[in-house]
Symmetry: D2
Subunit: 306 residues, 4 copies
C-alpha cells in the first residue's frame, strides 16, 4: 500500500486531520491512526472493557477533564493510577490548582514552597488545604472500616469528594474501579501514615485481588490503554494474566526499550508472558501522552458519534 | 498562570484543539502551542524570512505535500534539505512511490529489492527509473554548466522536473532556494559520480556561500523551522551567524541532548555561538515531526487565514 | 579547566580508565566520574547512609551479585526495590535462572512458557518452583504474624531463604531494610493473593512508614543511588522529605525528562519539593545501569580500598 | 545460556570487567561485549578494513587521542568525519583547547565569546587563531591545486599540520583517507568560502567518489565502526553498497529508531538496502560513545595484544 502524502487545508477538523494521518500510514502517523481506530472500535464494542492506566503527570499535565469525561461517558471501565495522579486530582478538588512554570531555579522554588514537575508548578499552600481535607475524609471512611483495600478506599474517597470535575469522584459515581498498587508512595500515602499513627486503620495491600480477578474474569475482551509506563502499565497488563492476556493494547510513552525496563518495553513482549493474547492488536505510540492522547480521543469520539 | 485542563468535544476543529493545548500550556501542549503561534506570527510578519530544514525521512514519511504547499503559498523562503529528501522527492516525480511496511525481515527485503526506512518501503524498480531520468537531467544541466554550485544545481533540476507535486520543482518556480550541503551522500550524489566519470562536470561544494550570505544579509529577521537535526539543522543555524543569529527558531525532534550531538541540542545552545540572537524566541518540540509538524501547520494556517 | 583527551593503553585497570574519564571531565565521562567519586565518598563517610533503589531489570539483568556484595560489605544501608527484582532474586534462590535470548518471536515464547524481558528469558518451570517455595515461606511467616508490613515481610522472607547469593537474604542477615511499596504488583504479590484467599494474613501498605521515618530521622546524611526510575526512585527521594531531602544523589537511567514523568526527571527537580537539600550534590548518568553501575562500583571500591 | 551475574572485585582490569559483561551477556553488557569482540576480531583479521565514522562531539568530547592512536597503530583504515570534528582537531593543533563547563547561561557565553557543546566550552580567541592558521594552509594547498576533492584536501591539510596529536595529521602520515561529505558545513567550510572569494580554488563535492570506490572495491571485508549517526554513518554504510554492503558493523548512539531518521536506525535496516550483507555481524550499543567507545577500545586492545 502506498504512502499518501498528508494534505493540510484551512479549517480542518480533527477527523479530517486523522484521515490524512491514516492515509499516510507510516511512522507516527500510522501508529496514531492505528491507536485511534483501536480505541474507537474498543469503545463501540459492547463486549470489550477498557482499562486505562495513568503514570507520569497526566492529571497535573492537563488530562484531568479528558479522563473524567471518558469515565463519565462510560468509555473507561477500570483505571489503574499512580498515587500521584490521585493526589493531584484531589488537590484540585480541594481548591488547589497547577501552574505554568515561570522558570525559577529549583532552590528558589523550594524557598517559595513550589514543587516542580517539569514545567508544571504546585503550591505548598494548596497541599496544606489538601492535608486538612484528606484527613477529614480518612476519618469518615475510618468510621465505616478498620481495614480496607486500596480500590475500595479510593472508591470511598470518590463518594466523599463533592467535585464533578474530579475523575475519582466521577469514577465512584459511575462504579468504575480505580486501582493504585503504589498508593502509599504519594501525598495520600504520607497523610495516611500520619493518620494511622493515631487511629486504628489498615490499608490492605493484597485486598484488591479478589475483586480485580472477578472483574477480569467477567470481561469478554479487554483493551488496555496505557498512558506512561511504571507500575500502572504493569498492573494493567498483569491483571489480565488470569485470562490469558489482553485482547488489544495501546501505549503512549517516550520511554525506550533497550534498558529492559517495562516502561519502555514493546507491547509484543507482553505476549511472551501471556499478559497479551497471541494475535492481540497492539500499538505503541512514541511521544508525549498529554498531547497525543487527547488527539486520539478527539478523533475516536468522532468515529463513535459520527 | 493556571493549567486549564484540556477539554475534548465532538467534531472539534484543529483550531479548537490547539486552543485547548494553549490553555493547558504545559509539557508538550505548551511547546506545540508555542511553536504554532511562533510559526503563524513569523509567516504573517512581512519582515521575517522562514528557513525550513529537512532531515530524517520527511518526504518518504508523508510530508511531501505539506512542504510543497508551504513553498507554493510563499510561507517558506529558504530550504536546507538532506540529500535523501531530495532523492525521495524525485523518485515520486519520476513515477515511483513509497510503500507501507508489510513486516518482512531485512534480508528478505534485500532479496526483493526493497529498501526500508523504519516502516516505509521503497522499490528498486522505482530507483531504476530514477537513475535513468536523473541522468537525462544531469545531461541537460551539463549543457549549460561545467561547474555549478549545489543550490543552483538543485534549482536547475527543479526547473526540469515536470511535477506540480514536487517540492523541488515548486521551489524552483517560486524562486525559493534549496541548499543541500551533504548532497553527495545520497542517490543523486552516487549518480552524479557515475555521470561525472564520463562527463566534464563539477559540483562546487563552496560555491553556494556567496549566494547564501547575500540572502542572509538581505533578511531583516529569520525564523528557522527545523524538522529533525543533522547537517540541515546545523546549516540553518550556522548560515545566520553572519548576522548575529536567527531571531526565532522551532525544532521538532526525538533526539536528546546528553550526548552533545547537535541534532539533540537545545536551541538555547545556539545563542552561545551567536547562531541565535540573545532574546530570540526558541522552542523545541519533542516528538515525531511527521505528525507534529502537520498539526502545527494546520493550526498556523487557520491563524493566518482566520 | 581543559578537557584532557582520554588515553587508552594496554592492560588498563578500571581505576586507570576512570582517571582518564575524570580528566576528560565532559559529557558521559564527566558524569560517570562525578558519580564514582560521590559514591566512594559517601561510602567512606561514616555519617552518610546509602539508599539504593532498584527499578528495571537489575536482578535479571546481571546485577544480583553486585547488589548482594554491596549489602554484604556494609556499603548499602537501605534498599527500595520493585517487586519484580525481589521476585527474580527468589527465582534464582529456588534454583531457577535467567537465560540469554535466542531470538524467538513472543508468540513462540508464550507457547514455550518463556517470559521475555528485552533479551533476557525466564522459564515457566522456574516460576512453578518459585510458587511452591514461596507458599511454604508465606505459611512460616503467617505462623508468626497475622498482619505484617511490607518491609518486615521481606525481612522475614530473607531470614527463611537459605542462599548466600540472594540479596534479600544477605540484606536480612545484615539488617539492611528492603522496602517495596509496589510489592503487590509482581509474582510475589500474585501468590500472596492466592495464599490469602485461604489464610488470614494481611499485608499492611502503610505499616512501614513508622519504621522508615525513624530510619530517616536517624540518618545524619543520606546519599540516594537510584538505578532506574519508577516507584523505587520516588520512594527513595520522598522518604527523605521528612528531613529536608537527600544530601546527595546519583541516578542512572535511559529515561528522558520532557514528558514530565519522575523516572526521567532531573534530580534538581527534587530540590523544589525538598526531597533534595539545597546545595545537595546531584548527578544524573544517562545510560544502561546494568553496565554503568558495575563500572562505577568497581572504581569506587578501588577508591575506598585503594 | 544462563546469565552469570557480574562480579566486581578490587583492582579489576578492563579485561576482567569485560569478561564479566561477556558472561552476563544481556542488555548493555551483552551488546558491549559483542562490540568489543567484533572490533578486536576485525582488527586482527588481515582481510578486514575498518571504517570509522565520527559524528557528534567526538573530538571536543575527549576522543581525539583515542582516534589518533587507533590510526597510528594501523587499526583504522578509513575515516568519515563531520566537518566539526575536523575543525575541533585543528583548533587544538593550532594551540586552542576545549574547556569544561562552568555553567553560565548561553547569553552570557555569547557575550564572553564562548561557544557551548553540551557541557564543553570553546573560546572565540582559539577560533581566531584557527582562522589565521587555516588560511595559511589553504594558500599552500592552493599553490598546488585549483580544484581538489574533499578527501585530498583534508589529506593535504594533514600533511601541513605539525602536530603529532592531530588525528588529521596522523591519518595523513599513515595514508588513512578521511572523507567529510559535509565539510562545507563547519568553520573550515566557512573559512574556505571566505578564502575562495579572493582566490581561484574549487572544492569538488563529487571528486572523492572514484577514489572511494576504488578503495571499497579493494577491501576483502569491511567492518564499519560508527560513533554517532548523521551523514558520517550514512556515508560509512552507503560507500559499501558497491560491493554488496559491509560485513560487520558497530554503532554507538543515543538516538532512537521510531522517527525513522538514519541516525537512530537499527543496523539491520542497512541489509534491506544492501549496505550491509545478508548474514553480516551487526551490533548497536545504546549509550554515550565518548565513554563506551574508549571502554570497548581498551578491552579490544587487550584482546589483540593479550
Amino acid at each position: 500500500m502506498k504512502v499518501k502524502h498528508i494534505e493540510i487545508t484551512n479549517n480542518m477538523t480533527i477527523s479530517d486531520f486523522m484521515e490524512q494521518l491514516d492515509e499516510s500510514g507510516v511512522l507516527g502517523a500510522g501508529r496514531i491512526s492505528h491507536a485511534t481506530k483501536l480505541l474507537a472500535d474498543s469503545i463501540k464494542d459492547e463486549d470489550t472493557k477498557i482499562f486505562l492506566s495513568l503514570a507520569g503527570p497526566m492529571i497535573p499535565g492537563g488530562l484531568r477533564k479528558v479522563v473524567r469525561d471518558l469515565v463519565d461517558m462510560g468509555y473507561v471501565d477500570l483505571i489503574i493510577s499512580s498515587g500521584a495522579n490521585l493526589t493531584h486530582d484531589l488537590v484540585e478538588s480541594f481548591g488547589g490548582r497547577h501552574y505554568i512554570s515561570t522558570g525559577e531555579d529549583d532552590e528558589v522554588l523550594q524557598d517559595n514552597g513550589m514543587g516542580r514537575i517539569a514545567d508544571i508548578y504546585t503550591k505548598s499552600e494548596d497541599f496544606e488545604v489538601f492535608e486538612e481535607e484528606i484527613h477529614k475524609i480518612f476519618a469518615k471512611i475510618n468510621e465505616k472500616y478498620d481495614t480496607i483495600s486500596i480500590q475500595k478506599f479510593i472508591y470511598e474517597i470518590g463518594l466523599l469528594v463533592d467535585d464533578d470535575n474530579s475523575f475519582i469522584a466521577t469514577a465512584a459515581k459511575n462504579n468504575v474501579p480505580i486501582f493504585a498498587p503504589g498508593l502509599i508512595d504519594c501525598m495520600i500515602g504520607l497523610q495516611l501514615w500520619i493518620y494511622c499513627q493515631d487511629n486504628d486503620f489498615t490499608i490492605s495491600a493484597v485486598g484488591d485481588m479478589a475483586y480485580l480477578s472477578d472483574f477480569v474474569y467477567g470481561c469478554k475482551k479487554v483493551t488496555a490503554c496505557m498512558l506512561g509506563g511504571g507500575l500502572p502499565k504493569h498492573y494493567a497488563l498483569a491483571s489480565n494474566i488470569l485470562t490469558g492476556g489482553i485482547d488489544a493494547g495501546i501505549q503512549i510513552t517516550l520511554d525506550r526499550s533497550e534498558g529492559g525496563s517495562l516502561s519502555g518495553a514493546p507491547l509484543e513482549e507482553a505476549k511472551s508472558w501471556a499478559k497479551a493474547k497471541k494475535g492481540s492488536n497492539l500499538v505503541t505510540v512514541v511521544g508525549d501522552a498529554t498531547v497525543l492522547f487527547p488527539l486520539i480521543v478527539a478523533s475516536a469520539l468522532d468515529k463513535i458519534n459520527g
